[in-house]
């Protein structure tokens, strides 16, 4: 096993820090993102979108649009295959539209102005249908139905362990609460973009995606082509955060237009389109019953959640049942209703349902600690899972695995020490008078690592330089760098001699993509395997040149030497030149739930807030994010991820809610101005302190763990808990706007003083 070999060798490249290897491209404007590319004869596409939240297209006449000079192709649902987009129920263009903003038709024209002018020339007759936005109302009898089989997606997702009714009855104290998170924007700076080009029956799509192979799989299905005829390229991607983690309608629409126009087509979403027609973070309403025993043990938990999947949902989402992985809970039941409504598409977004779940569970645990007069950190330490504890491997409640390399306790202890938790007042407000009060809060998080099929190949050229090919992407997480570091470490060459080619399905083996903490963890394993494959080949080639056996030689600093006699050596370059053929290494790994040992990545967040009772403003004074990252591959990349993810988690506390007009179901704030993603002034990023816990894992490359998702999880719960500690109000609905804070403060006052 690779792991054992690693521990016997000093790491030369891995564990370092410093800038990513493509930093110069990114600070000089040389990095080309999809929208920057131009092809000869390329057309510009625009999409006509439904103004109705729910409607059937009774008729569609494109003749006037097609007659406009400069229009080269128009496509509607009649042109789209009757095949859903991969992992979804939505087709590229649908006869029944299910949210305001859904694509109805698309135009390719010689320029943007022509395309825009042609859009209103498409005559669409809508048969407007009743709509529903609320997930619970969507399940009521007589609710508007989005799909023939109803609004409930499949069966409720149920997880049962022990006997929750009996467990609750056995508890000394049970509390019951409801927590609500709304539909939220979760996109990136680069709006969706796709360029399609056909050469005969060969389709090439440049896409801003996290998962080129998933896009490829979708396009092969849409156009009935073999994998060999579809190439998807995602070189530089301007962020993803999950919203680009699967195929989407835009790539297929671009390909449909391009096929019809017989010219390359670029489809670039506007910001408004990106907000409406990408994936949003799904709304959750979580009903929690928590029961404890007097000895501080968590004994039973009963969770019922409504997941507002919107019109369509990429793959099956919902809460990740994190609580079952973090805490020892003998009696547990979670029931999730995944409901379709007429709000826009939802899908995986950073942390998927984990931030929403953490908000509910870790708020409820805080409420319980307050009720019982327990210290929230002590209460968690008493109940978090430890190394060797049983843990569920799959989606069922059965704890058939064994937890390894788990350090939730250490994250809690180190975080508490850093923020000086002992100074926390046990009474809300702690006797603070005046308009402003400070408080401390904590929340725990964790997530699994990667998984599924990952692939990579490594080529060692005749001059000894190295290229890593992988078909997942670098969406800003530094994977070009970290994967190159893994190749350099494994081969024994300097990082400077390695280059990585990311996100091209034609030159790299299948890989699921960059999402779910998996690029480093899973693709990284594939790179390690591919590099090892190369190394074996190189050593076998070099050994006879050094009159030794392959087992007697080693490669380090780009020189092959005889281990017992360093004077017998050959530079890698000479070995390769004498060999006269490139070395090609292949690595494909599948990480599955068959492993009995389960390793996950824990984290604990601590925050100190100051609440202004007069304005309702919540200020973040300090924020400590302690994360188990396994073996850090590049410490700078790790800290950058923790800092950025923490702010994204904080962003959920203050803004980014998508609001809808109850009268027509349209989104009211599909712009940056109205969504208010945080600027540099909204949170003082200097106050975020990452704690990197280098806890070497068992199954990732060199013991690394995934990290991309986790830092975003705990912000909502940690801040809500700190606000309670500061002023004694419990925020159970995000975002925590000033109005919401003031309303809660007003309710907190006795009725007499309110009327006074």
């Amino acid at each position: 096993m690779a792991q054992q070999q690693n521990t016997t060798r000093t790491l030369r490249v891995i564990g370092g820090d410093g800038p990513v290897i493509d930093a110069v491209e990114r600070v000089t404007g040389q990095a080309k993102y999809t929208g920057d590319l131009e092809l000869p004869g390329m057309l510009v596409a625009r999409v006509l979108r439904s103004p109705h939240a729910h409607a059937r297209i009774a008729g569609i006449d494109t003749s006037r649009a097609e007659a406009l000079p400069g229009v080269k192709a128009v496509v509607t649902h009649k042109d789209a295959a009757k095949v859903p987009i991969w992992g979804n129920r939505q087709r590229a263009l649908n006869e029944q539209v299910r949210f305001a903003g859904e694509a109805v038709a698309a135009i390719a024209a010689v320029d943007e102005e022509t395309a825009a002018k042609a859009l209103p020339l498409i005559d669409v007759k809508y048969e407007v249908l009743p709509f529903v936005l609320d997930p619970e109302k969507a399940l009521e009898p007589g609710a508007p139905q989005l799909f023939a089989d109803g609004n409930l997606e499949g069966q409720p997702r149920v997880l049962i362990r022990g006997d929750v009714e009996r467990g609750l009855a056995e508890c000394d104290r049970v509390i019951e609460r409801v927590y609500h998170t709304p539909t939220m924007w979760s996109g990136s700076m680069e709006p969706r973009a796709a360029i399609a080009q056909w050469e005969g029956n060969k389709l090439t799509v440049w896409a801003s995606t996290q998962a080129p192979c998933r896009v490829q799989t979708n396009l092969t299905g849409q156009f009935n082509l073999p994998d060999s005829q579809v190439r998807v390229i995602a070189s530089y991607v301007g962020g993803g955060f999950g919203t680009k983690s699967a195929a989407h309608v835009d790539e297929t629409i671009a390909a449909l237009l391009s096929r019809k126009a017989r010219r390359p087509v670029k489809l670039q979403y506007s910001r408004e389109e990106e907000i409406l027609d990408s994936n949003t973070r799904f709304e959750t309403r979580v009903y929690v019953k928590v029961g404890v025993k007097r000895d501080m043990t968590l004994h039973a938990m009963d969770v019922k959640a409504y997941i507002n999947q919107g019109a369509y949902h990429v793959r099956l989402g919902g809460l990740g049942n994190q609580a079952t992985h973090i805490y020892r809970i003998p009696h547990l039941r979670t029931v999730q209703y995944r409901v379709h409504t007429n709000v826009p598409n939802t899908g995986p977004t950073r942390g998927v349902g984990d931030p929403q779940e953490t908000f509910a569970i870790d708020s409820a645990l805080d409420e319980m600690a307050v009720e019982m007069g327990w210290d929230p950190v002590e209460f968690r330490l008493k109940n978090v899972k430890r190394n060797g504890d049983p843990i569920a491997r799959g989606g069922s409640g059965a704890e058939d695995g064994r937890l390894v390399a788990q350090v939730t306790d250490r994250c809690l202890e180190e975080g508490a020490a850093r923020i000086d938790w002992s100074r926390r007042s046990t009474l809300p407000g702690g006797g603070q008078t005046g308009p402003r009060a400070r408080g401390l809060g904590v929340a725990v998080t964790e997530r699994g690592n990667g998984g599924g099929l990952a692939g990579a190949s490594v080529t060692v050229n005749l001059d000894g330089s190295v290229v890593v090919f992988y078909a997942s992407t670098d969406i800003g997480t530094g994977s070009r760098t970290t994967l190159s570091m893994i190749a350099a470490e494994t081969l024994g060459v300097p990082l400077a001699s390695v280059r990585a080619v990311a996100g091209d399905t034609e030159v790299a083996p299948y890989d699921g993509g960059s999402y779910g903490n998996r690029t480093l963890y899973s693709t990284g394993r594939a790179v390690e395997a591919a590099a090892r494959d190369c190394l074996d080949d190189i050593l076998a080639t070099a050994a006879p040149m050094l009159k030794a056996s392959p087992a007697e030689v080693e490669l380090g600093d780009a020189v092959v030497r005889v281990k017992a006699d360093a004077s017998r050596s050959l530079p890698l370059r000479d070995v390769m030149q004498r060999r006269g053929r490139s070395v090609v290494g292949d690595g494909s790994v599948t990480q599955s739930q068959a492993e009995t040992n389960v390793e996950r990545a824990a984290g604990a967040h601590f925050v100190e807030v100051e609440v202004d009772r007069e304005t309702g403003k919540i200020r973040i004074l300090r924020y400590v994010s302690a994360h188990d990252v396994g073996q850090p591959i590049n410490v700078t990349v790790v800290e950058n991820q923790i800092e950025g993810g923490t702010i994204q988690g904080l962003a959920l506390t203050q803004a980014e809610e998508l609001r809808f007009d109850a009268r027509d179901g349209r989104c009211l704030n599909a712009s940056f101005l109205d969504l208010k993603p945080p600027t540099m002034l909204d949170f003082d990023a200097r106050r975020i302190e990452p704690i990197v816990i280098a806890n070497i894992g068992e199954q990732g490359p060199y013991g690394a763990k995934g990290l991309g998702e986790n830092p975003c999880h705990a912000g909502m719960a940690a801040v809500a808990n700190a606000v309670y500690n500061a002023v004694g109000i419990r925020l159970r609905r995000v975002p925590f706007t000033r109005a919401e804070v003031l309303r809660a403060l007003a309710e907190q006052r006795p009725a007499s003083s309110r009327t006074a």
Partner: protein, 206 residues
């Protein structure tokens, strides 16, 4: 992309018909100092067309003269006419700053500045910041502190920094935070962006 395609307007049908009539040979009136293949298809002068204007500006030290539709934004002009794609379209509504360039020493959102407004101006984009292989101190500082993740907003961040530090060479951190607050970074590398700005200030003094 041929300008004939991009610069479509109400009158363009007529223009195209005119071109087809064999007037291509006269199509040099809307000249440009950097010829591109696209220019071969430029129509004859349309001085009588009120929807079009000739803009002249210096971009990264090079003087350009191009005839464009009046509605052309500076961002479109840079990206589509000059193929300088470093400035990005993040919102097209002056709400994110990814399109920031420096015009006559001021950082502006090029998505909501018309190209005709920049006539006669000195424009600096990310492509013009380095001197050959020598990166500008601001670029060096952004690399040193890893002041980015995905890089999509980075050109804008750097150009805002350039205009700011030229104006305020030794800012306090709070001044820098205010100056940078018109540039969104969704990856939220804000701490590192701030460090980059402060280090750049020191490097530029040196």
């Amino acid at each position: 992309m041929a300008d004939e395609d991009r610069d479509h307007s109400d009158l363009s049908v007529t223009r195209r018909a005119f071109l087809k009539g064999g007037a291509l040979a006269t199509g040099a009136l809307s000249s440009t100092l950097i010829p591109t293949p696209a220019d071969a298809q430029l129509p004859v002068a349309t001085e009588s067309d009120p929807r079009r204007s000739v803009v002249e500006m210096t971009v990264n030290g090079v003087a350009y003269r191009k005839e464009v539709p009046n509605r052309t934004t500076l961002l479109q002009f840079l990206r589509e006419h000059l193929t300088l794609t470093g400035a990005k379209m993040g919102c097209d509504r002056a709400q994110c700053g990814a399109c920031t360039v420096v015009v006559n020493g001021r950082n502006v959102y090029s998505c909501t500045t018309l190209a005709v407004e920049a006539t006669g101006a000195e424009v600096l984009t990310i492509e013009g910041l380095a001197k050959g292989d020598a990166l500008h101190p601001i670029q060096q500082a952004f690399i040193q502190h890893s002041g980015f993740q995905c890089g999509f907003c980075t050109s804008g961040q750097i150009m805002t920094t350039k205009a700011f530090l030229d104006r305020v060479p030794r800012p306090t951190e709070d001044e820098a935070r205010r100056a940078m607050s018109g540039n969104l970074c969704r990856c939220a590398a804000y701490k590192r962006i701030l460090e980059s700005v402060m280090t750049a200030s020191r490097l530029m003094q040196a």
